[in-house]
């Protein structure tokens, strides 16, 4: 079926080449990072996890969000989702691969990556993160491929694929819960030490993932003859609306606990993010942008008229995606380290090579989406869906 991705218009190939070029620049910067060490990034002794890990965290959420189309379709027979489950699963594949790439570029000694397998350590959440992410990648690849093949040959889905699909549903929840556990179990980081972490992660994932999926479906509609269907997108947008509402509610909960209790450890993280701490606050504009975009997105989505209209839906999805990217993919990780364990604010800003590598990985993610979606569209057009 991969041959379907090898036949395309000049625009298709132009897009592929642009993505390869961006990935190439990122790769070149990575070679520079391998040579010099992680000093080429903006990370420091105090802020030892930053853009790479933040992006990993965000994209695990995107990967997990495939469950928002898989669960309703396979467990509750929501027929309209049948047209787009494959796009959700392939988005998950691309997102998980991006996550793994972000881990690799963040490691100090990537050649020793397999030590996690040679010396398995069940008490380490990072070990389980490796297990669940690898498992999820395999699951979605096998499921997506077989579902597409079955569709193409007009066959019933084999029983064993159905079993894997049922497994992938709690597994999707697990990948993001385990990622939340990376943060939520560390005694020294007050901003992260909240039981709400797992819930917040899932809520923002179920807002940002489907938002991206809707936008990708609109692209699919434009570049091909396949129409994902208004009903499917309509239902997805409702999911985003409620996930976003819950997400913002959870942020409010954090604010209450921090500022009503007046415990310094709880207040400092949020204060740093939204107002700055000790005169330093380079994330403040980004956090207020997050607020504006999230609220704007919510207003557009909660109103049925703007939610159903394609133009405003696209704006809302874009706003929600960028808002969550800022909150989770930028604010969350860095703020865990501020203030540092010795109560001092040491700020972080990404460097150019760091951003180039990040954008390079984004390009690889989009490349995978492009190829897999082209394949899926090719099959769907072939069977005249």
């Amino acid at each position: 079926m991969l041959d379907k991705a090898l036949k395309g218009s000049p625009k298709y190939w132009g897009w592929i080449i642009i993505l390869l070029a961006i990935a190439g620049v990122g790769f070149g910067c990575y070679l520079w990072q391998l040579n010099q060490g992680l000093t080429v990034t903006g990370m420091s002794r105090d802020v030892s996890w930053a853009l790479y890990i933040a992006q990993l965290t965000f994209f695990v959420g995107i990967a997990a969000s495939a469950v928002t189309v898989v669960l309703p379709y396979y467990l509750h027979d929501v027929k309209s989702f049948g047209r787009i489950t494959i796009f959700g699963e392939f988005l998950a594949v691309a997102a998980v691969i991006m996550c793994m790439l972000f881990v690799i570029v963040d490691l100090g000694k990537p050649a020793r990556l397999f030590n996690i397998i040679f010396h398995p350590t069940p008490n380490s959440i990072l070990f389980w993160d490796m297990v669940v992410l690898s498992g999820y990648l395999l699951l979605n690849l096998v499921i997506g491929w077989n579902v597409l093949e079955a569709e193409r040959n007009a066959l019933k889905l084999p029983g064993w694929v159905k079993t894997l699909i049922y497994i992938s549903i709690p597994w999707a929840i697990s990948i993001h819960t385990v990622t939340a556990f990376l943060y939520a179990g560390l005694p020294g980081r007050d901003y992260w030490l909240t039981a709400l972490m797992g819930a917040r992660f899932l809520a923002s994932a179920f807002a940002s993932g489907p938002a991206l999926l809707i936008l990708l479906c609109f692209v699919v509609k434009r570049v091909s003859n396949f129409d994902p269907g208004e009903e499917a997108l309509g239902k997805l947008s409702v999911i985003i609306t409620y996930a976003l509402a819950i997400s913002l509610f959870f942020v409010g909960l954090e604010f209450f606990t921090a500022f009503y209790s007046q415990v310094p450890g709880h207040m400092e993280g949020l204060t740093y993010l939204f107002w700055g701490l000790e005169g330093q606050g380079n994330l403040v504009p980004f956090m207020w942008l997050f607020v504006i975009l999230a609220v704007a997105g919510f207003i557009l989505l909660i109103n049925p008229r703007t939610r159903r209209q394609e133009s405003t839906l696209k704006i809302a999805c874009g706003a929600v995606f960028i808002a969550m990217l800022l909150e989770k993919g930028l604010g969350l990780v860095v703020t865990g380290f501020i203030p540092n364990p010795l109560d001092t604010v040491v700020e972080y800003a990404p460097t150019a090579p760091e951003m180039a590598i990040t954008v390079g990985i984004w390009a690889i993610g989009f490349l995978i989406i492009t190829v897999l979606y082209k394949m899926a569209i090719g099959v769907k057009e072939e069977i005249d869906f």
């Binding site: 000093t39 420091s44 002794r45 030892s48 000694k109 990556l113 397998i117 980081r189 109560d343």
Partner: protein
Amino acid sequence: MKINRRNFLIVGGFGALGAGMLSATKSFGRKVQAGQGMPAPKWALAVDLQKCWAGQQAGCHDCLNACNKAHNIPQMNEAKDEIKWIWLAPFEKVLPGQQHDFLPEGIKEKPVVTLCNHCDNPPCVRVCPTKATFKSAEGVVTMDYHRCIGCRYCMAACPYGARSFNFRDPRPFISEREMTYPTREKGVVEKCNFCAERLEEGLRPSCVEACSYGALIFGDLSDPQSEVREILRQRYSLQRKPQLGTDPKVYYLI
């Protein structure tokens, strides 16, 4: 079962999976080796701040210099790359949450010796995905630089900021090489190791040895007659962030 290609692939796949699991199961079965005869010591350090501050008045940094020299600690140009095993930080930063507005004059800014606490319940050991950092039988939280993959999870987990990462090759920044001890390389995390290499020979850590003001008292907590147990009986002591349950083995005598 018919031997066709499909069945062969299925059986082969599971076989390969099983074989791959072997190495994982081996680690589950490994037991901790029991000691021989004598109970293992439990090393701890007491920092007598009054004596240390007296020494600092005279400009003493002997413990820092001894450690930095003995372990080839690089002196980096940029603060973000810095490697610190033992250093000085203000009293109010080292022991936050135990401060108020009416403490004796000037005490908040007084520099306090800060290092890895070699906790009894170390979060860094709990999170390490390869057991590159582990707690030795003698209670020393140790680094295996050969195994470290540089994921820096331990740095996120440490509530005391005791760990440093080699963001770059440290060798150009080592002014004088101590030939009996290795350097580290870019990409691994490092920290104070309680001079485990000296403890094995019955010597005290370099910092303790270097302190001429008697401010660093080192010893075995499991020996009720040890120097450190004696001083902890006599003087009131504080641990850093005790409410986190890490049970540090560095005690500050105020």
